[in-house]
């Protein structure tokens, strides 16, 4: 944690998750639910935006864009319907935080969605939920019906005169539909192809109308900002990286799971305190992927980094979706990269050339190396192919596929050279240090 003595952190977003019947409206109301909504409705929408701006809340979906600022991009004059989309297409490998919220505290998700919709003066909000999240879908659907029956969703909400319909839509199993514009195309009934920007969603998004799209966790923070105030929020974590944060810890740790801490916990503390340390005492830490498959990998020497947007960016990685995947010395980083490349090659929508062809080519190259048929010059080739995808594509999937590649090649070169030099498909012996 940063300088000073931080107050002991008490879970905010997940505070209700362990309670019995936490998904029901009754328990939600008993815990003070929907009070944030009524407070928000007493304000002008612009005042809600200002509060969120003041809190310093940054998007939890991966990019870390300031939420209040994003909301303020919506047109001042409402000439067309405005839409809010809650992006619940949680598909980044290693990520399972939104799922917890939706399954255990669906009314929090709905309340955050409603406040967001009110702030941008929308009368329709969409929750686009990953198709595989069937249980979360049924829980959310039931919660929506409860909320609608009690007047939290629908016409004249809480007597404010403001109408808002919330529509729950299931995706059909494409990673790319988590990309904001592909999600909108999909929601409109089209094939999940990302769109060119400009126009940006705030100008022409869903059905060519001004649209704001936020992540589930982002919107779940909003009710607390309403009730506890932006100052409370801004005081948690580090400057510009504030608030509570959910981390999805997985891999070779004793206790994988979703952990909520103040933003900016050190990676070491996350693994050792929350994760209970490495799974096998005789297998030391080798690498950590801190934010999902799209981000650069860290080696064992880098784990004192605070897990927030700016600190990880400074390390050449990203917080992403905070999907923290821990790999011990038994892991082959060639294989790890192959898994990554295969994922992105499979999930590339195929619309634009560099991503369509390049991701598949990268997979082929890494596959060849992993199978013991690589050449030393393939490392340079891989790097070059990645560089010709990165930044050249319609949407960030290409960047996600290509961006992490150099970190694997430079930090774990020995793993690659081992396969190449020995013409072997057998990985580097696990006891050997990675560098």
């Amino acid at each position: 944690m940063s300088a000073g003595t931080p107050p002991p952190f008490r879970p905010v977003l997940t505070a209700r998750c362990g309670k019995p019947d936490s998904h029901l409206l009754g328990t939600y109301l008993a815990d003070g639910g929907y009070q944030a909504l009524s407070q928000a409705l007493a304000l002008q929408p612009a005042a809600v935006v200002d509060k969120v701006k003041a809190s310093g809340l940054r998007g939890r979906g991966g990019a870390g864009f300031p939420t209040g600022l994003k909301w303020s991009f919506m047109p001042k004059e409402k000439t067309k319907p405005h839409y809010l989309i809650n992006n619940a297409d949680e598909s980044e490998p290693g990520t399972f935080k939104d799922r917890l919220l939706m399954e255990k505290d669906p009314h929090l998700v709905i309340e955050g969605t409603l406040i967001g919709a009110y702030a941008i003066r929308a009368n329709h909000a969409f929750i686009y939920i990953r198709g595989e999240y069937y249980h979360a879908y049924t829980v959310l659907l039931a919660a929506l019906e409860e909320a609608r029956a009690k007047g939290y969703v629908g016409k004249n909400i809480l007597g404010s005169g403001w109408d808002c319909e919330v529509i729950l839509h299931r995706g059909a199993g494409a990673y790319i539909c988590g990309e904001e514009t592909a999600l909108m195309t999909s929601l409109e009934g089209g094939k999940g192809f990302p769109r060119l920007k400009p126009p940006f969603p705030a100008a022409a998004g869903l059905y060519a109308c001004p649209t704001t799209i936020n992540n589930v966790e982002t919107l779940a923070n909003v009710p607390f900002i309403m009730t506890r105030g932006p100052e409370w929020f801004a005081a948690i974590g580090r400057e510009k990286n504030s608030g509570p944060k959910l981390y999805c810890l997985s891999g070779h740790v004793k206790r994988p799971g979703v952990y909520e801490t103040a933003m900016g916990i050190s990676l070491r503390d996350l693994i050792e305190i929350h994760g209970g340390g490495m799974l096998h005492p005789d297998r030391p830490l080798k690498a950590v992927i801190p934010g999902g498959a799209s981000v650069g990998v860290l080696d064992a020497s880098e784990i004192d980094v605070p897990m927030d947007f700016d600190a990880l960016r400074a390390k050449g990685s990203m917080l992403g979706s905070a999907a923290t995947m821990v790999l011990d010395s038994s892991a082959c980083m060639v294989k790890a990269l192959l898994v990554n490349c295969r994922f992105f090659a499979h999930e590339s929508c195929g619309q634009c050339t560099p991503c369509r062809v390049g991701c598949d080519w990268m997979e082929k190259i890494v596959h060849r190396i992993e199978g013991g048929e690589g050449r030393l010059e393939d490392l340079e080739l891989l790097n070059d192919v990645a560089s010709r995808i990165n930044g050249q594509t319609i949407c960030p999937l290409g960047d996600a596929a290509a961006g992490p590649v150099p970190s694997y090649l430079t930090k774990f070169r020995a793993d690659f050279v081992h396969h190449i030099d020995n013409h072997t498909a057998v990985c580097l012996p696990r006891a050997t240090a990675s560098r």
Binding site: I176, K191, E347, T353, P354, K364, R388, Q392
Partner: protein, 539 residues
Amino acid sequence: MPKLTIDGKEYEAQDGQTIIEVCDQHHLNVPRFCYHPGLTVAGNCRICLVDVEKAPKPQIACGTPVAEGMVVHTDNDRARWARQGVMEFLLLNHPLDCPICDKAGECMLQWFSVEHGPGRSRLVGDKEHYAKKLDIGEHIVLDQERCILCSRCVRFTDEITRTHELAITERGVRAELNVVEGRRLDNTYSGCVTDICPVGALTLKEFRFKSRVWFLKDTASICPGCSRGCNVNVSVNTNMNVHGGRIERLLPRTNTAVNDYWMCDLGRLIFRDLYDKPRLRVPQARDGGELKPLSWDDAARAVWVRLREAADKGGPGSVAFVLSARATNEEIFLLRRLLGDLGSERLAFPAHVEGVDDGLLLNADRTPNRRGALEICGAAAVDGRGLEAIRQGLEERKIRALLVAGESALADGILAPALLQHLDTLVVLERSGATTMLERAHLVLPLAAWAEVEGTWTNCNGRVQRVRPAVRAVGEARPLWEVAVRIGKHAGWTERYPSPAEVLDAVAGAIPAFAGIDYAAIGLLGADLPGAAAAAGAR
């Protein structure tokens, strides 16, 4: 009006223009595959990446709106590097079967590969393979392996024809172009997808393996299929070993005032008529019940003498002309003059109407110059009254001499042989033989066909456009205007009319609707009749 700098030079752009539009306007070379000015921007091929100063990464010229003070480099190291990467990706799985590909020679993948490609592939191992030679429509064959998934054809069927037959299915490197399940690419503009396909993925069955494109010589002309007057290029094979002198295809020629970038399949394949029917090759005169060849000089004299005789004997109105609205403005004008010299006004243009206008390009009126006929000869000649009057005149045997030019098929319709048998003189000018009318004709003169004549047509919106000869007329067939001039010589005409240009000058002088129309000024894209410009906007 933002000002921007492209490759060191300042340009003024329109608000809302994209970089590629400004580049195209100023003839700056930016490669493209998916971008097409007639379709929405997809931005998927990425070959038009340019370096925009202050942008963190290369930007696509097709999808980036210009902004005040923008500095664009289309050919610096960064732009070249980005494009080279895209070219290598595009060719990675491309079969490179150029030697057997119809598109070779006019393939954008070839052009830009030479200009921007790395020249070699770094792929180790096998290319991805996809289906080749899929029969997806009446006229279209699809080769998925050559396809670069630019989606031009998909957007064409979505946005222009709105028939939605094509789609890109699957994802990533498994993505492929195909027809939607259970459908075929069978819309009446399907051939256009082969024009806009930047590679050899979509080819026209009627052109497949007919000719290497570098043997083709294009002539800018006008489609004769309907009153729209779509601008076309007529491709003639110059390979004397194979199909020398033969028309191999028609391609739409861009004219945003008429047909944009498109043409219908009916027009595209209309040239085959030239080769499907036997052509008349020499002038013939009936002699003892049989048609026998004679020279053009004799034929022209005979036509005039016989028509004059009929006019002198029967008085005004004893001579009638049936002309075709497929004739040029010049031809119609000269024949009307000839008829006037014979003291008659009995003139008619049969209608050729099929179905209804299709709302895109193809009009129900299947003649290319009805508007010209209307302006030169008046409404009664073209609206059926003229033809009915002629039929009546024949029935009442008041008409003694009839000249039919390009409409001899009427003998199977309104001008039945029974009506023709009492004529003193029947002159038939026609392209192909084997019509019933020829059996009654006293003089048969062979006409040059559409791709063999020069002149102008006036389209449905009053746009005067030039038809140019792409091939030589067969045998001794001559264009109608030239035949008219030959006959006119015997009628005592003093004008020389060496070419249609001089005839059009005469039209412009005599017909108010054509005032100010100048042959040379019509150029490649046509000229609106004065007063027709406003109507043309309503297209």
